[in-house]
């Protein structure tokens, strides 16, 4: 029997590697800009483009028209590439095909964008699989897939599983109460997810999962409070913390909150006077849109160097707000709120909490002729739900008389 490739219980999808190979053979055309509707389709298109060795862009499946417009995509969204026919009878052929295509394949992923519109960064097979490990040790791994498959962390987990022909159980958007059973039933051994994901689901496990041997955290600042809870649920797991970005892929890993810079990578990192971590251009994905300072890229992350030469993350330099591992640009949300004709101004900020790190709060200034605040609030939510991804929607709306500005007319970011 062929090995399992993907189980996506929410969508009722179950595929073996053999079926995956067959589906690859049946694809005749591929969109230059991939916007697939299911995780399986994302994986299928990703791998098919890789085998073809072409350049494609990958978008979130739930982006709205206005969000896509703001991305400023310069490609024709409907442009299709017709593909050479390909035969994938077995794993051996499959990996040979990947190896051949990898030389010219590139994939464009979008960063969250600090100011103005997000930037597109191209990754190669080499940059995305920099930290992928293969070998007998990994052959029996079973992955809980707990990231968005179109984001850099998801793509990396995908390749880690794919290159070892491991099964993936898609738990990312699964009904939370069903996640523990997925772990018990499928014998999951590995999971990589944001601290927010762990905070949300661990409490639902009423008995430990002994099969899990590796737990990885990424996407947000490390949360030492989570460690005990992770150990309770996954007593046999080694815990790894990972520092990655869309710009560079995986940069550093740590056992706890202190990151080691490996000896052979020391020259790629530098800390600026104000504590900001800089990464050398040779370590990044390829982009004409990233602003470089000579050969150095400013990560926007403020770090502290310990006496032992390890680094600890302190916070963000810029104004991006991290909501459960997703970086939200408050400017984008404000822009969307201000599209409503009864809104005069809006100011969006993050409010700290223990569950998702931050949630968004919007202060909204209304034009004077508004009567029923309850209706206005409902109208704002409805508009945002139609136009923004869920984590970009402020959870609390406060109506105020004015938004505080600096002398230069910019909003005071707290």
């Amino acid at each position: 029997m062929s090995k399992l490739f993907l189980i996506d219980p929410k969508r009722g999808i179950e595929k073996t590697y053999h079926e995956f190979f067959k589906d690859i053979e049946n694809i005749r055309f591929i969109n230059k800009v991939i916007k697939a509707s299911t995780p399986y389709e994302v994986f299928l298109m990703l791998v098919r483009s890789l085998i073809e060795g072409i350049v494609v862009d990958l978008l979130d499946s739930d982006l709205s028209e206005s969000e896509i417009q703001r991305l400023g995509i310069d490609e024709d969204m409907s442009a299709q590439i017709s593909l050479k026919s390909v035969s994938v009878p077995d794993s051996e052929t499959f990996f040979e095909l990947i190896k051949a295509g990898a030389k010219s394949w590139k994939i464009g992923l979008y960063t969250s964008g600090t100011t103005g519109r997000p930037k597109k960064v191209y990754h190669t097979f080499a940059s995305l699989t920099r930290n992928v490990k293969t070998g007998d040790k990994y052959a029996d791994n079973v992955w809980a897939f707990a990231y968005n498959p179109t984001h850099v962390a998801g793509v990396q987990v995908f390749f880690q599983a794919l290159m070892n022909e491991n099964p993936m159980i898609y738990v990312f958007d699964m009904e939370k109460s069903e996640i523990p059973n997925a772990f018990y039933n499928y014998g999951i051994t590995n999971i990589s997810a944001t601290p927010t994901f762990y905070r949300t689901v661990l409490a639902l496990f009423d008995k430990p999962v002994l099969s899990v041997t590796r737990v990885t955290l990424g996407g947000e600042k490390y949360d030492p409070n989570l460690e005990n809870e992770i150990k309770r649920v996954f007593p046999n797991a080694k815990i790894t913390n990972i520092y990655a970005s869309t710009e560079a892929g995986t940069l550093l890993t740590a056992n706890q909150e202190y990151f080691d810079i490996p000896e052979d990578r020391k020259n790629f990192f530098k800390i600026a006077e104000d504590g900001e971590l800089l990464v050398h251009v040779d370590y990044l994905g390829e982009s004409t849109e990233l602003v470089l300072d000579g050969e150095w890229y400013h990560t926007g992350d403020i770090v502290e160097l310990t006496e032992e030469g390890k680094i600890k993350f302190i916070g963000r330099k810029n104004e991006m707000i991290n909501v459960g591992g997703y970086k939200v640009n408050p400017n984008e949300v404000e822009e969307e709120i201000k599209k409503l004709d009864f809104v005069l101004d809006a100011y969006v900020y993050g409010k700290r909490n223990q569950v998702t790190g931050n949630i968004l709060v919007a202060e909204v200034v209304l034009k004077s002729n508004v009567e029923n605040l309850q209706d206005v609030e409902t109208a704002i939510y409805r508009h945002l739900q139609n136009n923004l991804q869920s984590w970009k929607i402020p959870r609390i709306i406060k109506f105020v008389d004015e938004v505080k500005l600096t002398r230069t007319g910019k909003k005071v970011r707290r």
Binding site: T200, G324, Q354, T356, I359, R395
Partner: protein, 81 residues
Amino acid sequence: MNKENIKAFLLETINKILKKKGSKPIETLDEGVSLRNDLGFDSLDLAELTVRIEDETGIDIFEKGIVDKISEIMERIGVNE
């Protein structure tokens, strides 16, 4: 705020979040109810709840670990009997 007012506030806040999710409101604070399993709260819903409670009472209900049952929230904000 006295205990009854805090309870009313808690009920109102939970229902505000349920309404946004398109779910039916609850009528009473049933202590055994699980926010995640019974009311379908996701991480953003939980985050909103904790922030609204903290704004009103000054108490961070997740400070000493994760809560899930309504009884646990009432205990954290000190209105359990």
